[in-house]
């Protein structure tokens, strides 16, 4: 289990990506495969930092990465802000984003495309986003 704890500041996204990159390298991801997975984790963390925690630097974000050694890596991203209601999430339409000149709304779409599973859960004041990704284990 690899873990990383940081504060809810946008500027921390770079450190988060570096942490995920190191872990994926250890696990044996190719650079290309890792790039998209890093992106997915970055997207979730950016959403949690900006929307759930309003960039409040006193709030923290925890990331746990587990490699099950059978080709599945799990990321648990934990925060204590306003939980994201994934059940109410409606995938935006690209044309609508263009027409309304919106800048947001693409992040979760990317995450869903990249990861094999995306789940959000809440327990008391703790929110957990669990992402899973299958990968090719190097012999």
């Amino acid at each position: 289990m690899h873990q990383f704890k940081t504060s809810c500041k946008r500027e921390k996204l770079r450190e988060i990506r570096e942490f995920i990159s190191e872990v994926l390298k250890d696990i044996g991801f190719s650079e290309n495969e890792a790039h998209k997975v890093i992106l997915a984790v970055d997207e979730v963390c950016a959403n949690l930092i900006i929307h759930s925690n309003k960039c409040n630097p006193t709030e923290c974000l925890e990331i746990y990465v587990e490699d099950n050694k059978q080709g599945v890596v799990t990321f648990d991203i934990v925060d204590y802000g306003i939980g994201f209601n994934y059940n109410n999430y409606k995938e935006p339409n690209l044309e609508e984003i263009v027409r309304k000149r919106k800048k947001g709304g693409l992040g979760i779409m990317l995450v869903k495309n990249i990861m094999d599973s995306v789940e959000f859960s809440q327990e008391n004041n703790k929110n957990v986003c669990r992402l899973m990704k299958k990968f090719h284990v190097k012999k």
Binding site: L39, K103, L106
Partner: protein, 115 residues
């Protein structure tokens, strides 16, 4: 870290965007693109030095597509690394932008369009 430079030669504005564009740095891309679009009708965006882009950066490009169309602005993006281009491809955004490989080809498209 994001690096943005711009230069204008013979009526064509070249925006060079390098480094990493994420939710923290996309505001700089937004400002630079907004400025370029308000001053120029022909823009090439050089992404040769771009190592990373997240949805915040994709969103910046998306948010100006309507303006580009409405104001008949020619904007061509070129020089993306494969890993960056793949991010545009995941959601099909590569189909909405004019993307090419090299600077020469970007200039060719810009000039061709002005005929």
């Amino acid at each position: 870290m994001i690096n943005i430079e711009s230069k204008t030669e013979e009526g064509i504005c070249e925006l060079m965007v390098g480094g990493e564009v994420d939710a923290s740095s996309s505001i700089h891309l937004d400002n630079a693109l907004s400025e370029a679009l308000s001053d120029h009708k022909k823009i090439i965006v050089n992404l040769t030095g771009l190592e990373y882009i997240s949805s915040a950066g994709l969103g910046v490009f998306m948010s100006y597509l309507q303006q580009i169309e409405n104001e008949s602005i020619r904007l061509v993006v070129f020089g993306m690394k494969e890993k960056v281009q793949e991010v545009f491809q995941i959601l099909g955004l590569d189909q909405l932008l004019n993307i090419t490989d090299t600077r020469a080809s970007a200039l060719g498209i810009i000039e061709d369009a002005s005929v």
